[in-house]
Amino acid sequence: MTKTAVNLEMGASFLLILSLLFTSTFCIESSIEDDTETQGRYLIEGKVFPSEQPFTPANWQANTRLHINGGEFLGFVKEDGSFIIHNVPSGSYILEVLHPEFSYEPIRVEINSKGKFRARKVNHIQTSVVIQVPYPLKLKPLGKTRYFQIREQWRVTDFLFNPMILMMILPLILIMILPKMLNDPETKKEMEQIGSLTKFEMPEVSDLVTNFLAGTSQTQQIKKTSKSKKRQ
């Protein structure tokens, strides 16, 4: 409950910042210049979570590393997933969790000269936008890293719903199977009923189509007569 409330509040303040941004982008952005002071040395703490049980790789702690500013400072993960990055002077850093199989979202950690910590989402495009995340950090994987394309597999449905196949099969059904079905006297009656219904609803279009079909049947008849002539 409390969490959602905070989020909502953040959303509101965030919108405010945005509207400011468009009027005076430059002022805000130029005011966030870094002042690296080397007096204090601080610890960045947090906990890395593996992916959920069935997918938790064995010995994931040994294969997980934390990089600050691309390896300027390192963190290693203990048995329980917790980590401490030592001797970090005040400043602004990007913390990345590296695991060959799982991807994690990078976090920007800011330590001011008084030793106050702030962790927020990394946004390179709007550097002044702050979406805070809780500190000490809790890092959960976004999911398994997808390095590979999935190979297309041959499936019957793919084949059948191919437009070319549909184009071939539909006329086949119309020409070959439907007339045979219609030879059955019961369906004939049914169809007549339906036909009369449709006739009633929109007579002109169905007329057109029947004329068209009749036309084809006429040509067939003509062909047959010509064939029979040849036979003679």
Binding site: L21, F22, T25, I125, Q126, L174, I175, L178, P179, K180, L182, N183, K188, M191, E192, I194, G195, T198, K199, V205, S206, V209, T210, L213, A214, T216, S217, Q218, Q220, Q221
Partner: protein, 229 residues
């Protein structure tokens, strides 16, 4: 001749293209030009003239160059005939009194063929310090082998270009954010237009209608009889 004029014009255009002067402090620069008319391992440089660039920001300059003496003309012609290099040494004195010298080399024949009209490019770094002085001749090819009468090799007509360092590009985030903002607003207002064609949009309604029509027509006895046979 005409082509050359065009080239020079083009060059001037392109040189001045990079004119967006962004150096913070203006200054003047004095350049002493010395040239070597005999190709050798350790060339001997003789005085050619002086150039003062009053303002590095605007690039305005005054040029004083001596006419070539008869012996120098012959030397230059010989250098050109031997397809050797003409060397220029520029001793640059900046406004703070520091002195640096730069060597620049061009093909003597090109200088001769252009009848001593050359271009001096003074390149500055971002702070307005001279990093190099380069001599060039505007031409589309190297040497055409044209013979130039020796009395045309008299006076240098030099154009001086001060070339600044541009400010680097920055990722254009502002327009991107604006674009996204606009798209978001458009979506909120529901102004998303569907540009698909009529058929593409409504095919799922059209196809059953056609099928039903076909079926009904097939049910028609005379039509069906023809098809069945």
């Amino acid at each position: 001749m005409n082509i050359k004029c065009v080239i020079v014009c083009l060059l001037i255009y392109f040189f001045s293209f990079i004119y967006a002067s962004n150096i913070e402090y203006d200054g003047y620069v004095h350049i002493n030009l010395r040239h070597a008319l005999v190709s050798s391992e350790s060339p001997v440089f003789t005085d050619r003239g002086n150039i003062t660039i009053q303002s590095l920001r605007t690039g305005s300059s005054t040029i004083q160059q001596k006419a070539l003496s008869q012996s120098d003309k012959i030397k230059l012609r010989d250098l050109s005939a031997a397809n050797k290099f003409y060397q220029l040494k520029s001793i640059v004195t900046a406004s703070d009194g520091s002195q640096v010298s730069f060597v620049s080399t061009i093909k003597a024949c090109m200088l001769v063929e252009s009848e001593l009209s050359d271009i001096l490019s003074v390149s500055l770094d971002y702070s307005g310090k001279v990093i190099t002085v380069t001599l060039a001749v505007a031409s589309t090819s190297t040497c055409e082998g044209a013979t130039v009468p020796i009395d045309k090799l008299k006076e240098f007509t030099t154009s001086v270009f001060v070339r600044h360092t541009e400010n680097g590009p920055v990722p254009d985030t502002a327009t991107y954010i604006q674009k996204l903002e606009r798209e978001r607003e458009a979506k909120e207002r529901g102004e998303v237009k569907d540009n698909r064609s009529f058929l593409a949009k409504y095919w799922m309604y059209i196809v059953p209608v056609i099928i039903i029509m076909v079926l009904s027509s097939a049910a028609n006895p005379d039509g069906a009889g023809g098809a069945a046979r």
